[in-house]
Amino acid sequence: MMEFWVAALALTVFLYVTLDGFDLGVGMLFAFDRKVRSRNHMISAIAPVWDGNETWLVLTATILFGAFPLIYSILLSAFYLPLILMLVALIFRGVAFEFRSRAGALAGVWDFAFAAGSFLAAFIQGATIGALVEGLKVVDRRYAGDAFVWLSPFAALCGLGLCVGYMLLGASWLTYKTQDDVQALAFRTLPWLLGAVLVFLAAAFFSSIAIDLDLLNRWTDRPVIFIFPVIGAIACVALSVAVCWRLPLLPFLASVAIFGAAFGTLAVSFYPYAIPPAVTLKEAVAPESTLTFMFWGAGIFVLPITIVYTLLVYFIFKGKVNPEQEHY
């Protein structure tokens, strides 16, 4: 039963990172194009799906709370400030989404809120993952570090890295959903973003050697882990080729594969820990009766329904957007 909920958790986290990742990425790219028409075009490329994407964040939190209460209590309390900031950023971003096209003179303010909210949310997510990779100090099942571990140099580097990564996802999504100048812009930006992601990965790798990251020991214990960087490298090549030939859907799939490789690397490096170096999944898991209770309702009905519903929304919304018709 624990395996089921670990898998479910991995799935919801990955879906959240890739799905909300691309719309946060579009939110950030938004800052780099000042033309109203392009901005509307970008917005319409994520309008029908962004809120559904955020559903996966809530599902992740609820699964953690129920199935891994110890992880939930340690992580959420350890990252108090960043999580509150992230929630506020996401709310502001959502509100800005609705108001920007109807605010008249204030449109600029909401545009700023939209881009800034996207940046802040992405940075915080990256920084907290970075802090988690560095390891949290836990004493007697309680967080024992300080309130600003997420602003350590390594964590901040990861924060910036995830911003760039999300922008990569965002730009490749735009190549798929948009056309004309926005699509051209996305294609032009992609090589730079890919370069930046690679620079970030290299920086993260060398700084983790420099700070003697405990997680790196997993790499020597488990050579199987190297399969993920290989997948990542192949995806990078695919992305470059797709960009060269201006293929529309492939960049997005390749970017998702890059994220999948990074996710897989982290997941295997973490295992069996949920919070390295302190708490394993097994220590954190809820009693069997809880897992079973969740399984018979949430596990076999709600999760599949939500996945089907998500697929349905994406299916209905397939193809290019028409910026004239659907702009907000």
Binding site: T55, L64, F65, L70, V95, M294, A298
Partner: protein, 469 residues
Amino acid sequence: MEITALFLSRLQFAATISFHIIFPAFTIGLAAYLCYLEGMSLRTGISVYRRLFELWLRVFAIAFGIGVVTGIVMAFQFGTNWSELSRRTGSIQGPLLGYESFTAFALEASFFGVLMFGRSRVRPSLYFFACFMVALGTTMSAFWIMVNNSWMQWPVGFIVRSDGVYEPTDWAAIVFSPVAWVRFPHMLLAAYLTTAFCVASTGAWHLLGGRFKSEAGVMLRTGLGLAAVLVPLQLGVGHLTGDYVHDKQPAKFAAIEGRWNDEQPATEVLIAWPGEKTEQNYYQVGIPYLGSVIGSMSFSSKEIGLKSIPIENRPPVLIPFFAFRIMVGCGLLMLFLSWVGTAYVWGGRVEHQRRLLWLIFCSFPVGFIATLSGWFTAEVGRQPWTVYGLLRTTEAATPFLQKFEVTFSLALFGIVYTILFVFGSLYIYVLLRRGPVQGLKSHVAIGNPKRPLSESTEAGLIAEQGHVS
């Protein structure tokens, strides 16, 4: 009082959940009302129902959206501010609250999509089915919340492990807890009454302005009529809720009653100013014997006073005492308005009763006030416990949380929620002010379950254009 991180966390939780509950309380009732309107529209084919449906669907969208957004904050706050609570009781509260989110997303959000997009795309019967599923979803959400909160009020079906973790052993006992099954109907009726008064008040408002006479008449009639039936029911269920408090939470009961000393037979304190320091009431007006009658249905029972309870286990008295009286006062006001109003509606003279219409119009917040004060009674009365009798609020909080962190978050939430509230209520006001759209077009929905504001701003634009032309 010393301002501590714990105090600020409590304040933040109280503020965010109070703000949150306003919207679900409204949408639970509204979803049911939408079912009624759609059902009537299907059965009678009278267009008034259809126009009202479209109006209240848009209001529903805004309230639902704000409910979802503020609910997400709640999903995180258990961990951020109450890490010890979530560590220890997560195996019980996690799944219960999880089921709440799951039902919300699986039923409400997906079928709400059908309501917003699907009028022209699905058969009327399927559309009605979607209405029903949304109403079922909101009701089920409320159910899980009540099960969870009732477990905190009266914990059952678990063992406490040596590491302090509460391990569920009997889910049936938790889900079918008698406390939950009294408080769930109480909350459901509260939600229905809240909505009923909002609907009736909107009807009265338009009647006063001489607008939309047929729609306004329906709103007034249905809102007041529903309330006229439900308020007495609610008073009965409320009494049952009081019974569980009396039997299972004597400290809370004594605080609500403002009873300091054990009394036999007990006096019912109608109104007083309880002095928490001096442990006595000032300016007390009470009725002898009635306290025993209400507490135990007898003229001679002994009722426990606060002084019999160790001081470290006593709740604050002022808030439960007054919140309870405000709630009951609102209930009686609703009873009066709904019965008098319904009598005039039946007599067919309600349009000319301007003073009554004004009263009904001004009564739109009465359901919200009653619901909130009821929750204040229940939650503050449960103190000093978070899980009643087992886990103190001081032990439930995140132990290392610092004052500056909570101050910062409280300020942020203050700003964001103010913006949400101002814009949300403004848009609802604009929608209701505009009233039902005459000559209904099959609406091109750009709305989205969690993006309700787009709907309302569109409505706002139409209203403005209408104003200009």
